[in-house]
Amino acid sequence: MSDNPASLPTPEMDAAKLEAIADYIGLTQEALERLQSLRDQVQVTLSDEFNVVTADLTQLRRLLSDAAEKLSGTFRVVTASSEDMRNTISLVNDTPDFSVLARIREIAVEMTSTTGTTIQSLQFEDMATQLLQHIDRKLAVLARHAKDMAVLNPTTACVPPLLRAHQLDDLFAKLEGYRDELTIATRKVVQQESLESGDIELF
């Protein structure tokens, strides 16, 4: 049996072992059921939260991919516009006319628009940072949770944790506390999946 709480034993695996050993050491049926219930709940909580972290990382990957695509695009436009501008300016020097000046204005407008897209795309840094902070907070709570609940997963196979009723009560209370902490303290603030501009509302 591993110490990793993410791989807690399944109910099917342990039920028979727990029952046999409980008979031997005199644990009550009720205590056994509570122990199994606690294990199941810890397993579900850890599994759910690791899924949240995985979803965060997927979202982060989408944001970074979108940012990279948009910024690469704006880079190509800016470099092309810059070259176009240089060539057009050299035409002004040779044969100044209004059509050349109009073309320079067009290039300037194009570059302004590209700058806007760049500004919008560079905001990925803020959202990526907040997503990473969310992951960090989740993992910090999960690390403490896993440490506290490690007692449910003893390293010696076939030996169930010898927990008294009040210790089980404590663990149930801790599990409840961690669930609250994971819900409240690790509230997710970044919902964006891309770098499209967000909603605007005036009050």
Partner: protein
């Protein structure tokens, strides 16, 4: 005379992007890295606009707005919240605190300037 705007955000990238955008519209930007830092910049400073983030260390955006609105000289300065948050309850809290508007990140520079045009007197 150019108008002055205070930009409060814990992200240096965001402060730079908003500052750049406002400069294009003729604003002189001041910046703060969190609500408290923003408040420290307010000492008698004439302001035409405040743009603030919501989630920041030290002092968050809601507390910052309440503190700003508590000062007579800044009671009517337009305050735009620029945040990743889009929840209706959070917007309601922002409105109650005294925000003038709510913009969800990422912002589009052109659209930000349009909104500013609506809330800042010419």
């Amino acid at each position: 005379m150019s108008k002055t705007a205070l930009i409060v955000d814990d992200s240096a990238t965001m402060r730079e992007m908003v500052s750049y955008t406002l400069k294009q519209a003729g604003f002189e930007p001041l910046t703060g890295a969190n609500g408290q830092d923003g408040l420290d910049k307010l000492t008698g400073q004439q302001l035409d606009l405040i743009i603030t983030d919501l989630n920041m260390p030290v002092m968050d955006g809601l507390s910052f707005i309440k503190a700003v609105r508590a000062r007579d000289e800044y009671k009517f300065v337009p305050i735009l919240m620029l945040t990743t948050e889009s929840q209706v309850e959070m917007k309601a809290q922002g409105k109650a605190a005294g925000a003038t508007g709510w913009l969800v990140k990422p912002f589009n520079p052109e659209m930000l300037l349009q909104v500013i045009g609506k809330v800042v007197p010419k």
